[in-house]
Symmetry: D2
Subunit: 284 residues, 4 copies
């Protein structure tokens, strides 16, 4: 079935649900899913609706304009419209660690992720063999203090050339510049290996070990300019004990990281995430 | 704020969300929450909506009839309508174990449960002091093989006299008859001390110990005639290890039981549960 | 069965397990439990052993001196010796919130905590009725900026008079002075309503809401002079979603707090906790 | 560091810990880890100890005989002795599903599993490419009703030829015969895609969906003749909701399966598992 999904946000007022569902009903749309949320602290309304496109009485390419005119204009509404007929294109940035990459490729292989992966970019060669075994182009772009701006330019060119929709930093150990991030707002997903906001920055497992915590975690978030401070998409934790060394924490944590990152990718792919004010609404 | 909540279920077809939200919009209803679910396996539609009653253009007592006529009739829809101005009345059935009772009374005391508790019924005297310390009437109705039908009659009379809306079996160790259950369909909540459907029946912790499971659990469900087989409302688990004796499991399990039961009560109180075909839809 | 439990820590070297178990074997001690841990980062050895006292060939009162001479002296070992014949005496400090208090009293009532509670101290009267219903003396000591030192003096006098072994701050909202804390090193257990080290200090649930985390938590720790920075005994978490308001987080969090605090109390009561270098070894 | 690990079980009596640790101490063994457990229901003692072999005063090949004579004989003790110098050899049996295979190979690739994988056996060709990309021999042995005994013979021959220590059924959808199982007692690890003992047998996710459970799970266990009834090594769960279809459950469950199976493999590899009476003692 061909389906459409709309994500909307606007100031809260009466009748928004009715107006949106009326719009769909008018054109014979069969609503498959609808979710709604009001943030009462700030008076904002959020909604996600998906419907059967096959029987819809409006051409796919006319929907956005019609919705803008008939619904969005009067409600100061921002919206995104997606169709399941266009497969999202995801770029992976990796470094040396393989666990997240394997997990993502495994889901790609088995069809769990409905996505294209036109390229993988890395500052190291370690994972080249793994990537090319999946017949995905691998670009090796070594990075250091002197060439960062230039390399980011090359990366952006590759992303554009490959028509990439969003980027996943699968334990890519470099910090992206503000200029890079601006090109993909709420479209770069990072996995941080701690339960944010605890242990921001480098070596979080060692910091967790030093503090003697009983639970460690991982956090998938959209990348913003402030390090490890962007909107959180997903978090998960694992229990640790006194006998776990720092390297145990690294290993236990990797199991959490890969699951959290893959969940965040899945939410993003299924158009279930709405970002606002450094937070996310996730209609799962 | 005075609010109304409606829970509906009907065969799935196009436009149901639009029709329900139109109804509310027509009478100036400000929708506070809306959730919807379609069970595609059986083609059933479920929805929950709540709205501000203060500004609603229809008298509280006229809503049901208007909704029936304007929406439900044409859709073969069943619905329940609730108002937050009427506090639900909950009866507790207990036996000797105190942990679930304490947890419920603690939430009642602190205002976390918006409920009246007009009475507690027990077949033992052990918990009388606890109950009366909260100024709740305690009825001691001992039960044995010979007097079960008669005692159930007394219990039902008490429930009616106290205008009880729903019953919670807080580790009440007796099996209710089919006749009793029929009086409160999907309105009797039981806590079973296992992760159903594993370990149905008596002594589940001992059975779990014998089987050597690494995780134990508890299950809150609506009571139906078949033992421990009613619609599941909530489940939770706890990890156990080889060094945990059967009595450790009992103790670890009690922490799970009380949390699961209180969550189920909360979902029920907040009108978030729709039961159908021995399952539940829970819009939390 | 009368049992003894010994907790030891010393610099790691060969043969410590053998020496300790030899000591017990020499006096016909039947070891019931033994656990051991080496922190390889700092070269420290930790051990916990418990044994049957009934058949032990050494008088209870002579054990400490014998162990000191025969084992500890040559190993620079520190140890604690406990007997299950002496019930620990626990003081509770509370303020206005009832959930942790109820949870503790519920376990006290049902015999799950093998402890004496000679008194409860509070700076408010709100919980007096609850406490006295359990026939526990309640001391109301209001505290403000002007009288803190004086009130702490009164508190310490009460603790001494009641021969209190350890103190539990069950959501007691006051910060204890360094002088107070020094009297009960690693013997004051606090529950902090966040997943430390995230959200130290006041209003952690509101901070968590602002940050948009997907998981909240609670932390039980021994109190040290630095706020919320003492050795962590236990932590637990709960999942939250975008639709949870700050007051939802408070409520969801309270379920976590009470379970975490009670677990920490239980570990402490069962002599399973060894504190060192701002961390804990917990032999559960 | 070269280390030795011993796993022992025997009827419980006084002084076993002392005798074992004395044995090690006598030969200058530096104990690295020691764990012990008494099952009081059946009066059995279990222990695991590992020590530094480099400084041990007994040749590696003489340890077993010395321990038998000096310790085990007098205590009716059964024991296993392992050295970290001999890498265990693990065979994988797979069918069509790739998630567990990828997870295992990912850990093998990154060095998280200290193991040799001399071969993978499958009744289908689907995963051949994946396996051979890791340079592991892949044997395709199609199986049907008519050739089962014969194929099992071939499988056993391959296992012997490749000196396999233990077998992992990574979603291998065939039931092994009792004759096969006898060759590898407590050395065949299976992953069952339910929270055993709930939903034994085929299609557990569909059964879970039908029953309306709120939590699903997976179980790793040693294979015994009775289907899905062998000693449980590890279990884990994931929360599901009413909107999850049977195929959602399959996908959510696969994340649990792969983590549970890999944990069980890790415990087995690290010699932390002692099986007895259809249960396991796991010293993690």
């Amino acid at each position: 079935m061909r389906t459409a999904t709309i994500l909307v946000q606007c100031p809260d007022k009466k009748g928004i649900v009715a107006k949106v569902s009326d719009f769909l009903y008018t054109y014979q749309g069969n609503i498959l899913e609808v979710d709604q949320h009001v943030d009462e602290e700030i008076g904002m309304f959020f909604m996600r609706a998906s419907w059967d496109l096959d029987s819809f009485g409006l051409e796919k390419d006319l929907i956005a304009a019609a919705f803008q005119k008939e619904v969005a204009d009067s409600l100061e509404m921002k919206f995104e419209l997606h169709f399941n007929t266009q497969k999202p294109r995801m770029a992976l940035f990796v470094s040396k660690l393989s666990h997240c990459l394997f997990d993502i490729l495994s889901r790609y292989y088995s069809g769990q992720f409905d996505v294209e992966i036109p390229l993988v970019i890395s500052n190291h060669l370690d994972l080249k063999k793994v990537v090319t075994a999946f017949r995905i182009p691998f670009y090796h772009l070594p990075i250091d203090k002197t060439n960062k701006a230039e390399v980011e330019k090359q990366q952006l060119d590759l992303l554009q050339k490959h028509k990439v929709d969003f980027v996943v930093l699968a334990r890519y150990m470099q910090i992206l510049s503000g200029d890079f991030i601006k090109e993909y707002p709420n479209k770069i997903i990072n996995i941080h290996h701690s339960f944010l906001p605890a242990f921001v920055g480098a070596k979080p497992y060692h910091a967790a070990y030093e503090r003697g915590v009983k639970i460690i975690g991982a956090t998938a978030h959209y990348v913003t300019e402030e390090l490890d401070a962007g909107p959180i998409i997903e978090q998960e934790v694992a229990r640790v004990r006194h006998h776990n060394s720092p390297s145990d924490l690294v290993q236990i944590g990797q199991d959490v990281e890969k699951v959290v990152l893959s969940k965040a990718i899945k939410y993003h792919l299924e158009r279930k995430v709405l970002a606002y004010r450094n937070k996310t609404v996730i209609f799962y």
